[in-house]
């Protein structure tokens, strides 16, 4: 009864949106407003101004570094909120609706046995995936990639290893004592690099422009990439562990 009404309304919405879309410049048109304002400058001068071949990284870390700082803080806040929601549930002990009864003894054996093929392949590929993630993070300013992508790959690797090896290995992969520091790594790195930029150029998150300072500029970018990468991986891993544990 409700469904036809919703569908009719959605079709109306779709028609309105389509009418608006028809007014937009054609897809891929080179003189559309998207390409003629800031983007043109980013493409023409981005490499000289930021020292990054990958213009996406140039925009993320340099031109819009402040946005990325805010985004990293959003991730940190989301992590805190997730912990608050789940850990409160664990402490209250209201688990009477849990479906599978009798959680296994201290994660000794998984409920469903892991296939030996999957286990072998994941363990075989793990070092290579880690190497690829490190490459993506460290070369993010020169080739496609960067902190966010590499961090997500690392986080996915952590999840795969935890699923295959059992939960007792997660503490070895990501020591518990380090975790609180790693949660805050990315915002802290942005703060430190931003302050260095403030000292060098007079602007928060400013990068020195002189050719002689090129090494410093690159070091600042790589520091931020590593911090974002490790922070992203820890974010994914700890959200997974928090969801899984309760």
């Amino acid at each position: 009864m409700k469904k036809p009404l919703v569908i009719a309304l959605l079709i109306l919405l779709a028609l309105a949106l389509l009418a608006a879309m028809a007014e937009l410049p054609a897809v891929g048109q080179a003189d559309a407003p998207v390409h003629t304002h800031v983007s043109a400058r980013y493409i023409e001068q981005g490499e000289a101004e930021t020292g990054a071949h990958n213009l996406v990284t140039a925009v993320l870390l340099n031109y819009r570094g402040m946005d990325t700082f805010g985004e990293v803080l959003v991730l940190f806040t989301a992590l805190c909120a997730g912990f608050a929601v789940l850990l409160a549930a664990a402490r209250n002990g209201n688990k009477h609706y849990r479906q599978p009864p009798a959680p296994q003894e201290s994660g000794a054996v998984p409920v469903i046995a892991v296939s030996p093929v999957v286990s072998f392949v994941v363990r075989l590929l793990a070092p290579f995936i880690a190497l690829f993630a490190a490459y993506v993070i460290l070369k993010g300013h020169l080739s496609p990639g960067g902190g966010f992508q590499g961090g997500m790959i690392l986080g996915a690797l952590f999840i795969a290893l935890t699923l295959v090896l059992g939960k007792q290995y997660s503490a070895r992969l990501l020591p518990v004592a380090w975790r609180p520091w790693l949660y805050a790594l990315a915002p802290a790195a942005f703060l430190v690099v931003g302050m260095i930029g403030l000292q060098l150029t007079g602007y928060f998150l400013g990068y020195p422009q002189e050719p002689a300072w090129h090494g410093v500029r690159e070091a600042m970018m790589v520091t931020l990439e590593i911090a974002i990468g490790v922070g992203g991986a820890v974010l994914v891993a700890s959200l997974f562990l928090a969801l899984e544990s309760d």
Binding site: Q149, G155, L163
Partner: protein
């Protein structure tokens, strides 16, 4: 050729989205959703956005699906 690829990919994405919405079994919906992430990854590559494609491949096809699966493991897989 490129336009045909685009059309097929967009049609595929819409079909997958419909399947996700229609699936009664949440487990099935989550697994199909990971296929949706993979399709999007191809779309980003086609749009000249390899950076976004890389993130989407790891997030959309990997991590998001795992998180959904964990949640479904707690709450049960059948949609009433």
């Amino acid at each position: 050729m490129s336009e045909l690829f685009d059309l097929v990919l967009l049609a595929l994405l819409i079909t997958i989205a419909l399947l996700v919405v229609r699936a009664r079994d949440l487990l099935v919906a989550a697994i199909i959703f990971s296929g949706y992430g993979l399709g999007l990854c191809l779309l980003w590559l086609h749009r000249g956005a390899p950076d976004v494609a890389m993130a989407e491949a790891a997030v959309g096809a990997g991590v998001t699906t795992v998180l959904f699966l964990v949640a479904i493991g707690v709450t049960g897989r059948k949609e009433k």
